[in-house]
């Protein structure tokens, strides 16, 4: 029997405020999903906590989506979607990518699913993941120039292609 889904945002926020103070800046909600805004330097620590804690067990990384806000600073944001299969919890993590380094810590050490998802994020957006065992392009050819999903990259490609 899969337990019924419920909103655990406030509970989780409370637990994190106690166990990992300062890791989470705020909790927001959109269309029934809770999002925690995470400090980039605390991301890996938080990810490990969410996965390994018996009360949470977020062992399933569903999705990694970079978002290009173009005119905002910082420009890029990466959104992670997690699931706890045991308790049937859902959670979103939002991390702002620092503009200077354009890099976030890799989560391949926490979830193996992060391997290809981070490679895709790098290929299409140019966000780097430090500590990734094999960060190279996955969709476009190895020697391709540019990051096509950035909003300033034209859909039909550059004339030089």
């Amino acid at each position: 029997m899969i337990p019924a889904q419920r909103d655990i945002g406030s509970l989780l926020l409370g637990d994190l405020a106690e166990r990992l103070p300062g890791a989470v800046r705020e909790l927001s909600r959109s269309c029934g999903e809770c999002y925690l805004r995470v400090e980039p330097e605390r991301l890996k620590e938080l990810a490990r906590f969410l996965k390994e804690q018996q009360a949470w067990q977020f062992a399933f990384l569903a999705n990694i989506s970079p978002v290009d806000w173009l005119t905002r600073a910082p420009r890029f944001e990466v959104v992670y979607h997690l699931r706890s299969l045991v308790f049937n919890y859902r959670l979103g993590l939002k991390v702002d990518v620092p503009d200077q380094s354009l890099s976030l810590p890799s989560l391949t050490g926490v979830w193996r699913a992060a391997d290809w998802l981070e490679r895709e994020a790098y290929d299409l957006f140019g966000v780097r993941f430090s500590g990734h065992p094999d960060l190279r392009r996955i969709m476009m050819p190895e020697d391709w120039q540019g990051h096509p999903y950035r909003r300033d990259f034209p859909l039909a490609g550059r004339a030089a292609e």
Binding site: C31, A62, N63, A113
Partner: protein, 392 residues
């Protein structure tokens, strides 16, 4: 590996290859016949569909979702429609929700039939392909009955489904439901206890439940390893909460178990289809949300306001409030997710299409390491990938 590099042979499989189920390239390192490493090289079908979404309105993008998992087109439409409905705050009427279940399960059977046929073809058995396509043609006829298209229907709409079903549709569905159990028994009589099939699939491509979850596997590939997880039960959407069905799981996580899971899923899908065909509620098939959805043609002809609204939405598109949504449906290969970000304009500013085949394929090397080259072909078939979803 304690084998010196000189003994290893690197071979290239694909991207044009009968057993890769599409344009997949594998770079395989072999020690005699055993696979030491297997690196997929993908992107040969990368069309930039996620980026195309940023230049179209929510309604205009819907037909592109058909081209993601093109074996089960309706399910992708459904996921996209759900994401848009959550953003807009629209609820489809009950009849539409039931019809969505019916069509999604027909699509699921269709996809599993082609999986079965091509998987067995890779293993050397040609007959199941022709048998499976016999039933698959019946399902194509059902879709053709309601919308004229055999595949890539774009039949699901934001707010419901495009049209009500024709009077001949439900009797044809019942006809199909009457013959399909016998068809499944026929496939099973050929395959399940076949000694060659068992020898090629039992104990091959094993992945443990813990590793499967860590790799983000979903769908039959996850359930084959014994994890009882299905989005239709975990986050019931459409009319699934009101219907009876079971989630089959395997025991060992090998190719044979994934086969058994999909065979049973076909039976459960048929069970859902029969329930819907018997209990389809009456009512409209499209939600009434004049702010976001176009009025009906009848209103258009009768009412000036409706006409203006119709033109406005067609030309400019409807704008949801700013926000974001991650909507996921249980596709035939696993969790089909749509992460959509809206800034309040008529077009989304970001759409991330989560293709289960993309995530599942990453586990191929894990399953294939140490197995024979011939097993590799069986394992690719058992993960059941579709390149439209891998590359998007």
């Amino acid at each position: 590996m304690s084998v010196s590099d000189a003994r290893l042979m690197t071979i290239n499989i694909g991207p044009q290859h009968p057993s890769t189920h599409g344009v997949l390239r594998l770079i395989v390192e072999l020690d005699a016949e055993k696979v030491v490493s297997c690196t997929p090289d993908i992107g040969f079908l990368h069309r930039g569909i996620g980026k195309i979404a940023e230049s179209l309105t929510y309604e205009q993008f819907l037909p592109y979702t058909d081209r993601l998992d093109y074996l089960a087109c309706f399910i992708n439409n459904h996921g996209w429609a759900m994401a848009a409905e959550k953003l807009f705050g629209i609820e489809p009427p009950r009849r539409a929700e039931y019809l969505r279940v019916l069509l999604a399960e027909l699509a699921r059977i269709e996809s599993h039939l082609i999986w079965l046929g091509t998987h067995l073809l890779d293993l050397g058995a040609i007959t199941p392909l022709f048998y499976c396509f016999r039933e698959k043609e019946m399902i194509r006829d059902l879709f053709e009955e309601i919308c004229g298209a055999r595949m890539t229907h774009a039949f699901c709409r934001i707010g419901g489904v495009r049209d009500d079903v024709t009077p001949a549709f439900l009797p044809k569905v019942r006809e199909f439901a009457a013959i399909f159990p016998k068809a499944i028994r026929e496939y099973e009589s050929l395959i399940t206890n076949n000694p060659i099939f068992r020898a090629r699939t039992r104990g091959v491509g094993v992945i443990s439940a813990e590793k499967a979850i860590d790799y983000g596997l979903s769908g039959p590939s996850l359930r084959g390893s014994g994890v009882k997880w299905d989005l239709r039960k975990a986050e019931p959407y459409a009319a699934y909460a009101e219907l009876d069905f079971e989630i089959p799981v395997g025991g060992r996580g090998d190719v044979y178990d994934r086969y058994l899971v999909r065979m049973e899923e076909m039976r459960q899908s048929l069970r859902l289809i029969t329930q819907v065909a018997e209990n389809l509620p009456a009512g409209p098939v499209l939600a009434d949300a004049p702010q976001f959805l176009r009025p009906s043609k009848a209103e258009f002809h009768r009412n000036m306001q409706a006409m203006i609204r119709y033109f406005h939405i067609t030309i400019h598109g409807a704008s949801p409030p700013p926000g974001e949504v991650y909507a996921a449906v249980e596709g035939t290969k696993g969790e089909v997710g749509f992460y959509v970000v809206s800034d309040g304009g008529p077009k989304p500013i970001r759409v991330q299409l989560r293709g289960p085949s993309f995530v599942n394929l990453a586990a191929l090397e894990e399953m294939a390491r140490g197995q024979y080259l011939a097993d590799l072909v069986a394992i690719i078939g058992s993960i059941d990938i579709v390149l439209g979803e891998v590359d998007r």
